[in-house]
Assembly symmetry: C5
Homo-oligomer: 354 residues x 5
């Protein structure tokens, strides 16, 4: 969750359309798969060169090209040539620092989205940029790394059940976007669990670690929020796109994802408010503990200072101090001391300090 | 009031329209009732299968099908077939994690709302999702659990007084929504009373429990707010719906509920502001108490430290200390000590510490 | 200023248009007055039954019916019948928990506003709901209690000076609304004076009572704000109403009240910001006082602890302690003690603690 | 900067258009000047009665009537008659509690603005209301007090250089508004300097006076903001006014003032944010100082408490205490005490408390 | 990062269009360069007088006049005459206190932007105003100081690769704006690094310097934000300009910069939120440290006060104190003292204070 804007400045001064991959290399090599289907048949094929796409592209079937790993800018450039992508689109695909957005280029619609996965020690959530190009009869998806994200969609295509095989490229796009949005619920559940754990720690034993956990979660929320807010607008635009690429009947499906996005945003805002409330509780628990400490100090000092003073008085070496001569003087003083201590304790109990 | 987003992720990867009940099972079995009426007659009947609805549906009367309990997805599917509901509507009915919304499907209008009830120990308010489908001459209501929520509406239909029997399905829908919104006032009254109790505790004896109560109430407000804000838009849409299903004359009734919703929102916002003010008072009362504690410590220390020092001085064992030999030395020192103590007390009174 | 939403829930489950008075009974009996005037003549009459209105209503003069006290729902129902008011309007008049709003029913315009008066001990401001119905040639005003609120308008009608007698019912409505809005300035002046008094107390001697006064004022502001914000929209709607009941030439007068409303809102917001600033000052003054207390404690402890220790050292009973035998030992130690104390005081003065 | 809303309530209950001057009398007598010019000639004349305006008014030249001092409501009433001003305009001119606004009355455009000047001891900024009436061939400006505000405009008219003499009454209005807006930059510079002074005091020696200075500046900002926010809308309306009184070519000049207004607002917002940051620094510096005080107390107590205890032990009067008999006992104890003190000091240095 | 509004007031009272350079002189002399190109050829020439521009201006090539240093108002005035610039445009170019904006004057489009550079000790970021005038076939850029800002664009023109040489003046304008926006990423990276450094310091050893660093960064963010927010609107206007000066095909390029601007704003907002979180951590770390200090004091006092009291008791000089006579009395008391101390330590360990 470090600040991802850094490598961005590498591009300053370069002409637009210059293809430089901005982001970490998350795969060994770029891998490409073609999934070509219509209601009757389906064909899955791993391809090495972009040229292998051409035959699929020109058939009336739906052609889904998956590209995993973005470091090979040559392949991307060829893809751009074959499918007629604008240089700015290619640049946006490579610049993994994009905000979610949807752009209608007429010939195709370009959608960029974010998904998140947990890195190594499960503490951080790492963003992955997913680009989807929806053209006439084809969909190209770009992922930064190998993952199971679209596995269920692939399986549904292969199985041939449901609406997917009967519908066009727009429904496939919808299915991909839906999968990505549904993925957020899982992330939010994980975060929700962490919030609950932190909250329990906060009530049982608030420590600096609790504060750091709260702040860590707050920042994650900030991070998610930054990705999800523009998502709303993006999906809204998709649902209302006046493009021949999206059939009117698909509008209701995008409206459905839109509702899910609103739910994600609501949950994020609720979590943020909960974390703010937890911060308040943390701060007031520190103050409360301070009060406890000070009470203890005050009780001890208030009891023993007068007693020590009294002992000090009868420790003075004056020649003429009548009490010192009394036979029961010592015991009287002890009795007085005990009385003072008991009265003090009563006083503190009355003030509810004990 | 735990985070309800959890079971949502069960659906990730499934095709849209897959019917899975997301939420707790709140009833033993699904129960269905049909209430069929026009101005002249009324008929109430508990039904076991969806097919029993068919005859009612095709009559020119208003048919109100109540379904209580959502776990039986088969019944829902049949209902969908009989009344021509879109798979996404069925999915939304089952997913009890919806935001309030209104969707116009042409053939019917789908409205989803939230109501709240107090669970077990009265501490928590639990949401219940109410779905209402308004079609041509029929209304279907979906509740998660058995409750008295719509009892008054049923009674009014059976009694046959007022506008209800004379009006169409849109007026029945209005009556159901009105009942749900009016229900919020009761919840807010209960919360208002809790706020007053907490406020009294805050002024009399602010403790950590008070803080937790404030935070608990704040979170409930957050929770309610999340449900009521979209409600406003939902009811506004209903009132302005350009649908043949809602007569123009009903617009003024929905405008009336809209005003009530605004009142609910106003009250929630007022409560939130009041709770924020209470938090400020709590925090400053902790600081004040700390001041009291520190004052006490300082008074005790300031009085006894000089006295103890004086006693210490005359407890020194120097050979030649003239005062020790004086006959009235001891009493003089005692007098000085009392003078110091009295002056200190005057000083503190002057500074208003006592 | 307790939460007024309580009695609202009494209505849950009742059909719309059921007339129940929600609010406290503020008068002994409902009182009705008719003021009928045109440029040439004016007639004032206290009436007992609604039927007495009828002759006035049908004349081409302006008829102003004042109803004070809302508990008699029968009278209201009759009024509704005579003047053709919608059941929902009657319901809104009785439900004194309304937000300010304006509704155009075609035949008449219904306006509901709030005014405030000081109750008993001058500490609280209590809202009163004023409903105004503007019809063709008549105005009906509904007040909850006897007051001087509209006295000046009545006097102006009776005196016959100014535009009032020459103008129609819309100008009378304007005059009533103007009177209500102008009334807010008086309330704000009173609150402004209270803020100034509290601010002086805050600077002179901040106590818990000051904090409670600030919070009390903040809540009053919240309360006023809730009534005044919708007022803005209400008056704006009146000024722009495309209704034949309001002449175009009256628009500029409503624009004038609109400006006043904005001024009221501005003043409320300024007061709120001032109160927030005062809260900050209060909190930091508590911290400052704590600092003062701690300084005092530290000064006392830092001076007397070393001295007491020194006295303790020479109070030890070791056989061989050479200093004790010195003739000037005692005075040397006293001199050292005084030196230490003086150095400490210098140190504290240098650090500006004294 | 006291609350100016007070005298406003004097008007409650009076009919609209009643001319009462609301505000302090800031001049001895009302003074009127006419400045009549076209490209060829210019004439300046102090006038005693409104009638003296008439000849200027009817000439095709631009006539600028300046009225300084508002207490003479008769003069204003006459002006209203001569130039055809609406009673509400006259009322607004006298009520110096207006928000900046622009009203198009068809025959003329009425603009009310606020300027500020420093009162007496330079601590406060006092608002002055400037009203400008732009009619066909004439401009009337109303000021509350004598000042140099429009001196530069008068000089430019008299000098005859620049566009002013060649242009119409709309360009004169623009010049007056421009002068008022430019005046804000001077006020903001003065405030900016005060903020810098306060900030230096905050870093060097934060005291309660610093806090009061911050709060004082915050309130001034609030005060300015209240005047400048509506100014934006006012000038925007002037620039876009569809009135024959403002030539289309003047639009670009009003757009220019609009940009300046935005700059003023930006600066005010920046100052507000800076003052908020300073408040945070102040509060944390109080906490820091408390930490310093407590550290000192703890260091002193931690060093001397064990030592005093040790001295106390060997001050006990037990018959059999072997150490007391040792020849080097006293020096051993002294050595132990010094060791303890040195170790404590090392410990505190290690914890960076010293 | 001092308040730049100061010199602005120098202009108060002057007629609009008066050319005064508001800002610091950042170059020795004004330098002008002409870069004239089309697809076939390119010519670069340093010029001394404005007249040398004329021949380039009238050719069908793209003419880019760069003016570096604004102090020579005569040159600017001549430029204005040659290229037909409005006096208000010249005034805006000289007034380096502008907000980013775009103004369409028909004949040309005037764009003003801000860039930032690090001054001297790298602690401050200093704004530089860049004005760009896009006319028919020419672009004039105005910079306050010599810098490498547009170096890459110049090189791309000279090299003749990419779209630049083939496109018109609008694409050159796009390239300049793109360069300025890309420059922000570098500034944000630098600030991001400073935030990370400050955050580490905050966790390791929070000091007053850390607080000042946080506040310093917050103010820088405020500063950047003020420049970047209007940038968004400016670039949006450029992209949607209905001007013949910008070809429709360039719209997509401005949309691209618009996306970058949104990214810049997002990053700034994220940084602001992070800095707010850091402030919270700082404040609570002060409170935590206070707790640590108080714990230590309380532990010391609680252990030694009872012990010192006990020693004081047996230091009393009563004649009859039986314990003093006991042979093992001293060792018994020592044993009791050690027991008390150990019990106290156990107690503190149990309460987790140690």
């Amino acid at each position: 969750m470090s600040m991802k804007s850094k490598p961005r400045s590498r591009k300053a001064g370069l002409p637009p359309g210059t293809l430089i991959h901005i982001g970490d290399k998350l795969t060994e090599a770029t891998r490409m798969t073609v999934l070509d289907y219509d209601e009757a048949q389906v064909q899955e094929k791993e391809i090495k060169t972009v040229d292998e796409c051409r035959p699929f592209k020109d058939r009336p079937t739906v052609t889904w090209v998956q590209m995993v790993g973005l470091q090979d800018t040559n392949i991307l450039e060829e893809l751009g040539t074959v499918f007629g992508l604008h240089p700015l689109t290619l640049e946006d695909i490579l610049n993994t620092d994009q905000r979610p957005k949807m752009e209608d280029f007429g010939e195709y619609i370009y959608v960029v989205l974010k998904t998140f996965y947990s890195a190594g020690d499960q503490r951080d959530i790492v963003p992955e940029q997913i680009s989807i190009v929806l053209g006439a009869g084809f969909v190209i998806s770009f992922q930064e790394r190998e993952s199971d994200l679209f596995k269920s969609v692939i399986e549904r295509v292969l199985a041939g059940k449901g609406r997917l095989r009967k519908s066009g490229a727009d429904y496939l796009t919808y299915s991909l976007v839906d999968t990505i949005v549904d993925h957020y619920f899982g992330i939010l559940e994980t975060l929700g669990e962490k919030i609950e754990v932190t909250e329990e720690a906060l009530i049982k034993d608030p420590s600096t670690a609790t504060l750091q956990a709260i702040q860590h979660l707050k920042r994650k929320m900030l991070f998610l929020r930054k990705s999800v807010w523009p998502l709303r607008e993006t999906i809204n635009s998709l649902g209302r796109a006046e493009s021949s690429l999206i059939h009117e009947s698909s509008g209701i499906y995008f409206k459905d994802i839109y509702d899910h996005t609103i739910q994600v945003i609501d949950t994020i805002e609720t979590f943020r408010d909960m974390l703010s409330g937890m911060l308040d509780i943390y701060l007031s628990s520190i103050s409360n503990r301070m009060n406890e400490i000070m009470k203890m100090l005050t009780i001890i000092a208030t009891i023993f200072m007068p007693l020590t003073f009294l002992a000090g008085v009868y420790g003075m070496n004056f020649k003429y101090m009548p009490e010192l001569e009394w036979h029961w003087g010592y015991f009287m003083v002890l009795a007085i001391m005990i009385t003072i201590a008991v009265l003090m304790l009563f006083y503190f109990r009355k003030r509810k300090w004990l």
